[in-house]
Symmetry: C2
Subunit: 231 residues, 2 copies
DNA sequence: CTACAATTCAAACGTTTGTTTGAATGGAAA
DNA sequence: TTTCCATTCAAACAAACGTTTGAATTGTAG
């Protein structure tokens, strides 16, 4: 691809679209949806102001396109990795750590991709899980649904003894940890003393995250006595 | 207070300010900062459009005031609880679960306060940790700093064998889990199958969160062999 | 070359934004 | 009552917003 596009531009199949998506990804990450104006977005992309409405229809449709572009392939990679693991296991239950790694690996690999814009996207994504706009949240939920169902099933098979509602909550906690960690890396650092060079070492981060999440997922069931009484 | 202010309003010391802060808290939670206009905000508060600029100076200053009003007392409560625990322990090291509960308790108690607006604030807060505006993030960080230092010290004393950088990361993970859980409750639910009635049972949620976080915090240290080689 | 459709462009559209202004209003002190 | 300061109010401000328009430009097929 890079070889072909040298000196002479042979064909820009969707160049304007791509430039807009890239610029949107970065500016949405930097300033948020509302605070990013079409004028600064199109200026950054080097396209005309009207190009967004021509190619995407509206600003909201552009936001949707930004997420669709990356999220589909990311979750497809997660599912593919899970498929691979289960094939390899040949019927035997998977290790929980392997399932966890299959889930968080896709995000960590993207955050290493600083040049391709993957890092921008991951940070944007982590923040958008709690976006005020219900429309955006439901889009994210919809794009995640297949992968979530798939991983829920995998965890259920790996942890048959765990109550279903407890598993759902622990998946929720795991998801939150991942989302916050990826979104807040290099943004807010509430706890001082973190060596900055560790920040983007995805390998080290993966090891740390996996250890934490696995322990949390496998935590002993909490005492439910007084809780049940209170409820 | 409620008894005195019946039938005849004796004195509204900062009524307008309070009404604005309450309306801002709710609308910022519902729609975000940018998407909340001064007109809908002042309309909801039942005050004149110019009142915000008169009492707070600007919209940004109002945002800051919204956080200062709640965050200071919340973190003071956290520190007070930790003081109480340490006094009670009389020199002996604290249980990690107790420290965790001292930290998450304040947030959980606020989310039970649906009438007083505490729930609105907690959700708003959880989202704002990853706010695009650097100015807002650094305000949050500044308001959190004293409590964070305090709890970091408590964890260090409780876990003297844990490497400092590992502890910092695990505190980061714990903080992320709490932030996401509180912010995303009743908003996005990526994992289906959660019984909605459990949503606001703060007792049950506290038990679940504590079990998960404690296990994560005390997780066995990850294998650092291949990681060190890669770095 | 001509003709056609896709795309780009500058300009303007009507709203809405946060903020400011100066007069009106209110309650407490002199 | 008169004075005074704090607050409230309706109105207007300039600036920026997302979107639309119709003409200019481009690349391609007949």
């Amino acid at each position: 691809m890079e070889i072909a596009v040298s000196l002479r531009q042979i064909k820009p199949p969707h160049e304007t679209r791509t430039r807009i998506l890239d610029a949107a990804e970065e500016l949405f990450m930097l300033h948020g949806f509302e605070a990013t104006s079409m004028r600064q977005l199109t200026a950054k992309a080097g396209v005309n102001l009207a190009a967004v409405n021509y190619h995407f229809g509206s600003k909201d449709a552009l936001i949707e396109a930004v997420f669709r572009r990356r999220l589909d392939v990311m979750n497809a990679a997660r599912i593919a990795e899970l498929d691979r693991l289960e094939k390899e296991a040949a019927g035997r239950p998977l290790a929980t750590a392997a399932i966890i790694r299959a889930f968080i690996g896709a995000g960590l690999r993207m955050i290493e991709d600083a040049r391709g814009g993957g890092r921008n996207f991951i940070r944007l994504l982590g923040r958008t899980y709690t976006d005020p706009q219900k429309q955006i949240r439901s889009l994210i939920g919809q794009l995640y649904a297949p992968a979530m169902e798939r991983f829920k099933g995998a965890f259920e098979r790996a942890l048959p003894q765990m109550p279903r509602d407890e598993l759902v909550w622990r998946m929720h906690f795991m998801f939150g940890t991942l989302a916050y960690t990826l979104a807040a890396t290099d943004t807010v650092q509430l706890i001082a003393g973190c060596k900055p060079e560790d920040r983007y070492d995805a390998r080290l981060l993966e090891a740390r995250l996996t250890a934490f999440l696995q322990a949390g997922l496998l935590a002993p069931l909490h005492e439910a006595k007084d809780v049940k009484k209170a409820a």
